[in-house]
């Protein structure tokens, strides 16, 4: 058990947590309650008309083909998993390389961390400018020098690939910092002992370094999935706007689009509630496993 401190004034602890509770209430509980409430209604944006429809907003999402919610869900899964795998594996590889005794290591490290300073929205704009079929430099090169038919405005595979690359590029820096810190905390004598026992570099990595890194990796896995699912909205917004068709409209993009642009508040609220449940689920997983694994 942790140490406990007895407050002399009875009400003081409550008073001290009050500001935090007020913030949580105003910015989390109140809007969440409103979202749940609104998800049961069909309403006009000005709040003049409210029609209670029960679970209809949810039912439409799950059964109505034209809402394309299932499609949006699967695109989000593919997207988040791809971003996670790509961003984590590449950054682990680069962190291992940067952790070696190489010349100008700090230069490499700085360069690697840099993209994280770029706001997600700006990252989207950067990639847009490179790859847009009408104005992009890389797009021009692909089309005119390599003869590759680059038209992500109509080709779903290309659009999704571009989004995954753009989102991973930015997230790699974050992963890199954590992996590098993790690698630097691996005791050198473990490695030396293993080397003396005749373990090659690959064996040393998989048998010693990788297990020691596993709490970091697990933490990053959760963070990357959350990033892929929820924080990549600006990239989608900038680069594809959910197109071609509806094929890259990931869940968070769809919530925003349906609510803010299309003013369908009922459906948008229902979608937010579903997202909220997903985040709660992910958080529970994170706490249960990380709490357990962190004391290896």
């Amino acid at each position: 058990m942790a140490k406990q401190y007895e407050f002399r004034i009875k009400g003081l602890p409550y008073l001290l947590v009050l500001p935090q509770m007020v913030i949580v209430f105003i910015f989390f509980f109140w809007p969440s309650a409103q979202a749940i409430w609104q998800s049961f209604f069909l309403q006009d944006p000005f709040g003049g008309q409210y029609i209670f429809v029960g679970l209809e907003n949810y039912r439409v999402l799950f059964t109505d083909e034209s809402s394309a919610y299932a499609q949006s869900f699967w695109v989000s899964v593919v997207f988040a998993v791809s971003v996670t795998v790509l961003a984590m594996s590449l950054s682990l590889f680069l962190a291992v390389q940067a952790n070696k005794k190489i010349r100008a290591a700090s230069f490499y490290k700085t360069m690697m961390i840099w993209p994280y300073a770029v706001a997600t929205l700006i990252a989207g704009v950067l990639w847009l400018f490179m790859f847009n079929p009408n104005v992009g430099v890389v797009a021009w090169f692909l089309k005119h020098k390599l003869g590759y038919e680059w038209q992500y405005l109509l080709n779903t595979g290309q659009a999704l690939t571009l989004l995954i690359l753009a989102a991973s590029w930015r997230q790699m820096s974050y992963n890199f910092v954590f992996f590098l810190a993790g690698l630097q905390s691996v005791p050198a004598d473990f490695i030396e002992a293993a080397a003396i026992d005749g373990a090659g570099p690959a064996r040393r990595f998989w048998k010693i370094i990788f297990p020691i890194l596993s709490p970091t990796s697990f933490y990053l896995l959760v963070m990357n999935l959350v990033y892929g699912f929820f924080e990549t909205f600006p990239i989608v917004h900038q680069v594809t706007a959910g197109g071609p068709g509806k094929s890259t409209a990931i869940l968070v993009y769809k919530v925003w689009r349906d609510g803010v642009v299309n003013l369908d508040l009922g459906s948008s609220s229902a979608q937010s509630v579903i997202l909220m449940l997903m985040v709660i689920g992910l958080t529970v997983v994170q706490f249960r496993f990380i709490e357990r694994r962190v004391n290896y």
């Binding site: 006009d44 944006p45 000005f46 008309q49 034209s66 009408n134 071609p244 068709g245 803010v260 299309n262």
Partner: protein
Amino acid sequence: MKRFSLLMLALLLCASTVFAQIQIDWWHAMTGKNAAALEELTKRFNDSQTAYKVVPVYKGSYSDTMNAGIAAFRAKQAPHIIQVYEVGTATMMNAGGAVYPAYKLMKDAGEKFDPKAYIPTITGYYSTSKGEMLSLPFNSSTAVMYYNKDAFRKAGLDPEKPPVTWPEFFETAKKLKASGMEGGFSTNWISWIQLENFSAWHNQSFGTKNNGFDGLDTKLVFNTPLTLKHLQTIYDLSKDKTFIYGGRENKANPLFTSGTVGMHFESIGGYGNFKNTCKFDFGVARLPYYSDVKDAPQNTIIGGASLWVFNGKPKEDYKGVAKFFTFLSQPESQAYWHQTTGYLPITVAAYELTKKQGFYDTNPGPEVAIKQLLNKAPTGNSRGIRFGNFNIIREIEDQTWEDILAGKISVKDGLDKMVNDGNAELRKFERLYKK
């Protein structure tokens, strides 16, 4: 101490003169040179009198601005005036007590207001079918064809004779491509230009009930053989890149400005932009039409935004709003707005004034657009479009058009899908507002 109280007194006096002025808040979505022109107009109004002070506030994109207005209204903090894009018209109209209709505002405030002074195709878009103006048109544009005169010359075509009919247009596009261009033509706003304006220009119903003006029980009916033929032709030409797709909304512009294609469809609002960016000689022409359609060409419809007035402010404030609207409608204000931004003037007088000032001698483009709007007296098919959930309907059209071009769905099935899915949105809107 004495000096301090004197200072306080002076401050109080200043404050009281400010308080005597009624502040009128105006939320808008204009940026760049359009925002500068908007501010100049406001300044002119504020300088012209002392009773009212109009304060324009930029609130982001059209949808951001509308959302901000809605949220503010729900929180009882609405501005007096808000700029709303044309697709939001039905939502604003049905907002019930939230909106103070412009015609009523002008009458209550005793401002001289003659709806006939306005260009009918422009005000019609924001009026009831009885002709009562609900909002004041502010920035209006319409779709025109832009063509690269240098490319025409290179392909051996007469740069002063742009194609007039669609068959001629497609032939010209092929010739441009054959002359060495990467593509023949492209278009912005597939929904607004190739469906809505296309229907109006051919006097074909886009939706029943006069395109939704006469009731919420309107249905989309634009999946006609004519539209099918048109989209099928464009789709077929996309195969060999005679048509190049450049994205939704106005994202296809770089295809024209970079000389990738020789002809392009875009709002006349983009004229100034093209004048700045095109390194070649370009011209503006009317939209082509199919000459075998009896009533074609009819007139095109507008896009853009209008100014809506929120309810719930003191009566005195509305006098100021009405005076400001009168000021905005004056030929000088309109001519200034038209000539600086490229948006169309909303009154006939402003058009005449601009003509007299010789503006069109050096800028022939905008006049093409005005003439296109005034081509014939508008019919029920060409007065405008009045749909609820209009934004979603356009989105469905854009998305389905991409699926058509990607070969995921045939042109015919795609067109039917646009109509069916769009109708579902119309029914949803009707259900919400049916009394």
